[in-house]
C-alpha cells in the first residue's frame, strides 16, 4: 500500500531519517516505535507530505505521492495527532465533517456520515453532534479526533501518538476501539508510539526505529522471541518479555472445552497475561472460561499457559 524507498531527511545537523526503506501492507496496522528523536514521527509526516524528504521516494497505492498537491494527497489520508487539534470554534459535527466539507460532499451525505462515525465511536449522535470540543472529556475529544480522521473514508490512516495524552483507563478502551475499527474496516493504519505495550497490543507489523534507521521489524512476538540485538532487548524490556508474550495470545486459543473449574469465569477474549494474573491472585491452577456471549466454554489450565506455539 505504502512503499517507502531509500528516504532520508536531515534537520540542521542530524539525520532524522537515514536511507529508510519500508513496505506497509494494505489492511494491516503497522506500528512505528522508537525513542524520541528516532525519526518515527518524521517518517509518518513524510507520508502525507507534512515533511518533504531530502531524497528517496514514497509511493501510495503504486503512485508517487509527489504527483499530487499536498492538500489533495492529505484529503485522501486520515490524520490523527496526540493533542487532537480539534477546532475549538467548531461543533463536533463540523469538526468531523472537516474533510468531507473540503471535498465538497453534499450536505445530506456529510450528515449521515457524521452520525455513522459517532455511533461507530460510541458517542450518541444526538447528544454530541452540537457540542463544542471544550465541553468534552479528553477521551471523547480523542474519539472525535479519530472520527474526523476517518470521515472521508481515507485509504490510509496516519496516527501520531494518538493516545499519548490520555489516562491509562481511557487509553486502554480507545486502543480496543481502534483494534475493533481496524478489524471492521480493514483500513491500512500507520501508528506512531513510544509505548511498547501499545505497539504489542495493536500492531500487526511493528517497526522499531533508532537514529533514523530500522533496527528490527516483524510480527509482535518476533520482538519478544528473537530480539535482533541488545537495543531491541532493552527496548522491549527483558524482565517483562515473558509476561508481554502472554499478552499477545488470547484465552480462546488455549481453552480446554471439556475441562471444568470452579469460581468466577474469565472471558475467552482476555489475554493470557490477564489470565496469569488471575491464577496468581486467586491461587488456583485452573480457571472457568466463558465465551463473548457469556456462555460456558470450558476451562483454562495453568500448565497450558506454556503449551503450544504462540499464534
Amino acid at each position: 500500500m505504502i512503499d517507502i524507498s531509500n528516504v532520508s531527511k536531515r534537520f540542521q545537523h542530524s539525520n532524522a531519517v537515514d536511507g529508510l526503506s519500508l513496505q506497509i501492507t494494505a489492511g494491516e496496522l503497522t506500528v512505528l516505535i522508537g525513542t524520541s528523536g528516532s525519526g518515527k514521527s518524521t517518517t509518518l509526516k513524510m507520508i502525507n507530505r507534512l515533511i518533504e524528504p531530502d531524497s528517496g521516494s514514497i509511493r501510495l497505492a503504486g503512485e508517487d505521492i509527489r504527483q499530487q498537491t499536498p492538500e489533495v494527497l492529505r484529503r485522501r489520508i486520515g490524520y490523527a495527532i496526540q493533542s487532537v487539534g480539534l477546532f475549538p470554534h467548531w461543533t463536533v459535527e463540523q469538526n468531523i465533517a472537516a474533510v468531507p466539507t473540503l471535498l465538497k460532499w453534499p450536505a445530506a451525505r456529510i450528515r449521515n456520515r457524521v452520525t455513522e462515525l459517532l455511533e461507530l465511536l460510541h458517542l450518541p449522535a444526538e447528544t454530541f453532534r452540537q457540542r463544542y470540543p471544550h465541553q468534552l472529556s479528553g477521551g471523547q475529544q480523542q474519539r472525535v479526533g479519530v472520527a474526523r480522521a476517518l470521515a472521508a473514508d481515507p485509504e490510509v490512516l496516519l496516527m501520531d501518538e494518538p493516545f499519548g495524552a490520555l489516562d491509562p483507563v481511557t487509553r486502554g478502551s480507545l486502543q480496543q476501539e481502534l483494534a475493533r475499527i481496524q478489524k471492521l474496516s480493514g483500513k491500512t493504519i500507520v501508528l506512531v508510539t513510544h509505548d511498547i505495550d501499545e505497539a504489542l497490543q495493536l500492531g500487526q507489523h511493528i517497526v522499531l526505529m533508532d537514529k533514523g534507521r530500522i533496527v528490527q521489524q516483524g510480527k509482535p512476538e518476533s520482538f519478544l522471541l528473537q530480539p535482533a540485538n541488545d537495543f531491541v532487548r532493552d527496548f522491549v524490556g527483558q524482565s517483562d518479555a515473558g509476561v508481554r508474550l502472554l499478552g499477545l495470545t488470547t484465552v480462546a486459543s488455549r481453552v480446554q472445552p471439556t475441562a471444568r473449574a470452579e469460581g468466577e469465569p474469565i472471558r475467552s477474549d482476555c489475554t493470557l497475561r490477564e489470565a496469569l494474573s488471575q491464577f496468581v491472585s486467586r491461587q488456583v491452577d485452573r480457571l472457568p472460561v466463558v465465551n463473548e456471549q457469556g456462555q460456558h466454554a470450558g476451562a483454562l489450565l495453568f500448565c497450558d499457559l506454556l503449551g503450544g506455539k504462540a499464534s
Partner: protein, 394 residues
C-alpha cells in the same frame, strides 16, 4: 472568580481598602460640596453639604450608611448587591443633589453668578466609583453583564442631564454659552478618531499579519512602532508640521497643510499602528499550534487555514486590540487641538488659558464619556463574539 468568599452570613470585618474608601467618603462630606462665585472666572466660596437648602442632603445618609457599615454586614451575594445598589444610588444622587441645590440657590438663568462642583462633590463621586468597582468585583460577574451593569448604573445621571435638572450648574451654563463650538468639537473629535482608525486598521493589521508570517520582518516592525509610540504626542505633531507644510507647498490646491486636521490624523494613525499590529500578531499567535497542524494535516490550503481557522480564533484578541486603540485615540485626539485640528481639546485648552475651570471640564468630561462608550461598545462586541465562538476556557 478569586475573591468570592464562599461562606454565608459571616462579616468580612474592616480592611485597609475599606478604611481608605471610608476616609474618602467622610472627607467628601466635610469639604464644600458646591462653590458659589460671582462670575465664571472668579474663585467661589464653598457651600458645605449641611448648608445646602432643605432636607435634600439627608437623603445621602442611607447609601452612605450602607457603604460605611459594609465591613459589618454579612459577606454574601444579597448584601453585595445591596452595597452595589447603594453605590449607584449615591453616585447618581450627587449630581441630582448638586443640580437641585443650584436651582434653589440661584434660580435666575440670566445671573452672572456661578454654582460649581466643590471638592466634596468630587471626593464623594470618587468614593462611590471606587466602592462600585470593589462591589462589582465581589459579585464576580462575567464580562457582558459587568459592562451592561455599568451602563445601567450611568443611565440615571444621563437622564438627569437630558431632563434639564442640572441646567443651573455652572458646567451646563458653560455648555449653553459654547453650544455651537461644543457641537462642532464633538463632530471634529469623532472625525479625528474615525479617520485615523480606518487607515490604521488597514495598515496595522497588515503589519501584524506580515510580522506573524515573516519572522525577519517582526524583528524590525515592532521596535520601529515602539519608537513611534515613545515620541511624546506634542513632539510628533510638531515633527509633522515641517514635512506636511512642504508637501502642501509642492502640491498647491491639495489642501495639505502643516497644521489642522490632516497632520493630526496622520499622527493619530501612527500611534494606532502599534496596538493594532500587536493585537493582530497576538491574536494569531495564540491560535494553538496543534490546531494549525491538524488543519494542515487534514488537507486545508493556506488560505483555508487562514480564513476558517486562524481568523475566527484570532478575532476576539484582535478586537481587543482595536478596543485599546480606539480608547487611546479618543484620549490622544485632545492634544490634536494644539495644531488646530479642533475637537474637545480646543475647548479644554481655551478654558485652561482663561482659567475658566468649568470650561476645562466641559472639554474633559465628554472625552471621558466618549472613551467609556467606545470601551463598553467593544467589550460587548467581544463578549458576543466569544459566545459565538464558544471559545471560553473555564
Amino acid at each position: 472568580m478569586s475573591a468570592t468568599p464562599a461562606h454565608n452570613g459571616h462579616t468580612a470585618g474592616p480592611d485597609r481598602v475599606w478604611l481608605l474608601l471610608a476616609l474618602l467618603l467622610l472627607g467628601g462630606c466635610a469639604l464644600p460640596f458646591l462653590t458659589h462665585a460671582a462670575n465664571r472666572l472668579l474663585t467661589g466660596h464653598g457651600i458645605a453639604l449641611t448648608a445646602l437648602p432643605g432636607y435634600l442632603p439627608w437623603l445621602l445618609l442611607a447609601p452612605l450608611g450602607v457603604l460605611l457599615a459594609s465591613p459589618w454586614l454579612p459577606d454574601n451575594r444579597p448584601w453585595h448587591w445591596t452595597r452595589l445598589l447603594a453605590t449607584i444610588l449615591l453616585g447618581n444622587a450627587l449630581p441630582w443633589l448638586a443640580g437641585s441645590s443650584a436651582r434653589l440657590l440661584d434660580s435666575d438663568a440670566e445671573s452672572l453668578a456661578r454654582i460649581s462642583f466643590g471638592g466634596g462633590f468630587w471626593l464623594l463621586l470618587l468614593g462611590s466609583l471606587l466602592f462600585y468597582m470593589e462591589s462589582s468585583r465581589r459579585l464576580a460577574l462575567t464580562s457582558p453583564w459587568r459592562t451592561l451593569l455599568t451602563l445601567a448604573a450611568l443611565l440615571p445621571a444621563g437622564l438627569l442631564l437630558a431632563s434639564g435638572q442640572l441646567n443651573q450648574l455652572s458646567l451646563l451654563r458653560e455648555y449653553d454659552n459654547f453650544r455651537d463650538s461644543f457641537d462642532s468639537a464633538l463632530q471634529q473629535h469623532v472625525q479625528l478618531v474615525v479617520l485615523s482608525l480606518l487607515p490604521a486598521l488597514l495598515l496595522g493589521t497588515a503589519l501584524g499579519l506580515l510580522a506573524f508570517r515573516l519572522a525577519r520582518l517582526r524583528d524590525w516592525v515592532f521596535p520601529a512602532l515602539n519608537i513611534v509610540q515613545t515620541i511624546p504626542s506634542i513632539a510628533l505633531f510638531g515633527l509633522l508640521i515641517g514635512p506636511l507644510a512642504w508637501l502642501g507647498k509642492q502640491l498647491p490646491g491639495s489642501g495639505i497643510a502643516g497644521v489642522g486636521m490632516l497632520p493630526a490624523t496622520v499622527a493619530l494613525t501612527l500611534y494606532s499602528l502599534l496596538p493594532l499590529a500587536r493585537g493582530t500578531y497576538a491574536g494569531l499567535q495564540q491560535v494553538p499550534a496543534e490546531v494549525r497542524d491538524a488543519a494542515r494535516g487534514i488537507g486545508m490550503t493556506g488560505w483555508q487555514i487562514f480564513l476558517r481557522v486562524e481568523l475566527p480564533l484570532a478575532l476576539p484578541v484582535f478586537i481587543g486590540g482595536v478596543r485599546i486603540t480606539a480608547v487611546q485615540a479618543v484620549g490622544l485626539a485632545v492634544v490634536a487641538a494644539l495644531i488646530g485640528a479642533g475637537g474637545f481639546g480646543a475647548i479644554m485648552f481655551q478654558g485652561l488659558s482663561g482659567s475658566a475651570l468649568d470650561q476645562v471640564l466641559l472639554g474633559v468630561l465628554p472625552v471621558v464619556a466618549l472613551a467609556i462608550a467606545v470601551d463598553a461598545g467593544f467589550k460587548l462586541a467581544i463578549a458576543w463574539l466569544d459566545r459565538k465562538n464558544h471559545d471560553r476556557h473555564f
